[in-house]
């Protein structure tokens, strides 16, 4: 094993690429940490897990995402076969995700953990969208509240968020 390099600083590299193209710098969201964490009093073996993923996942039969600031979402039933899952995205290498969707959408992984009894169950639906939405206000003011509403309606105990 050779010496490790530090993690890739995607914010710095995006800034450098944009600058080289003559674009103004992208204004990344900068938040302070939350004041406090939400908690659940249930043991993990009883948790119902809500899954939200941003890798542009859709199921066969659904309309795919488009690539210009699409902030719609897809509802994917928890028993959807992995073979029916697809990905579309303008910005990340989907070579692995298209062969094994679990790498960006661990629905089957969660089903396995539920079958083992490590968790209680998976929420009735998982929710997916296509990240790389330029407008942070669309995410903050429209998409985030809509998805949070769904998790509340599904009565999940814990949310697992999977960006790419």
């Amino acid at each position: 094993m050779t010496e490790r390099q530090p993690p890739v600083d995607y914010i710095a590299r995006t800034r450098a690429v944009y600058s080289s193209l003559g674009y103004p710098p992208y204004r990344w969201v900068a938040n302070e940490p939350l004041a406090a964490l939400a908690r659940t009093s249930k043991p993990r073996s009883e948790w119902r897990i809500g899954l939200i993923a941003s890798g542009g996942i859709y199921a066969v039969g659904q309309i795919a995402f488009h690539h210009r600031d699409d902030y719609s979402y897809r509802e994917i039933a928890r028993d959807t076969p992995v073979e029916d899952l697809r990905t579309t995205h303008f910005a990340y290498d989907q070579a692995d995700a298209r062969q094994d969707p679990n790498v960006v959408f661990p629905l089957e992984t969660l089903r396995g953990l539920a079958a083992e009894g490590v968790i209680g169950e998976v929420g009735a639906n998982a929710y997916t969208f296509m990240g790389g939405i330029y407008s942070a206000s669309k995410v903050r003011d429209v998409l985030a509240p809509a998805l949070a509403d769904r998790l509340v309606a599904d009565a999940v105990d814990v949310a697992l968020m999977v960006p790419v």
Partner: protein
């Protein structure tokens, strides 16, 4: 995704994020995260490696139980390759694809199978 995690927390539901982009996850103020130092697009583990995929998700869920400080990020031990030279070439130029405003299917067959009235496709009105 950090913004969504924060909104979910605001409703009283604890959330944890997987991440392979540490700078973005920290800047967005994700409530809790596990960091997997892989190229983007494998946030939940290596393809077909069921044991790793299970372990990544399990670590994330353990963090919900164990983290006490908002913004806690745990780094996982996995390495993508024997050396880290893959990091040198990441985002050194603009590799994004051209962006279209029509649905972009993984394969042509999906377009013909798509339900134009899709009840599980949800479009949101602007705020």
């Amino acid at each position: 995704m950090g913004l969504i995690g924060r909104e979910v927390e605001a409703r009283g539901i604890p959330s944890v994020s997987l991440s392979s982009a540490l700078s973005i996850t920290r800047s967005a103020g994700a409530p809790r995260a596990v960091f997997l130092d892989f190229p983007l697009g494998r946030t939940a583990g290596r393809a077909f490696d069921k044991a790793m995929q299970r372990d990544v998700v399990r670590h994330a869920l353990d963090l919900v139980r164990d983290a006490t400080v908002p913004g806690t990020v745990t780094e996982l031990d996995y390495r993508w390759a024997a050396d880290d030279t893959w990091k040198d070439g990441v985002m050194r130029s603009d590799s994004r694809q051209e962006r279209f405003d029509t649905p972009q299917y993984q394969c042509a067959a999906d377009a013909s199978l798509a339900d134009p009235e899709c009840p599980t496709c949800v479009w949101l009105a602007p705020a």
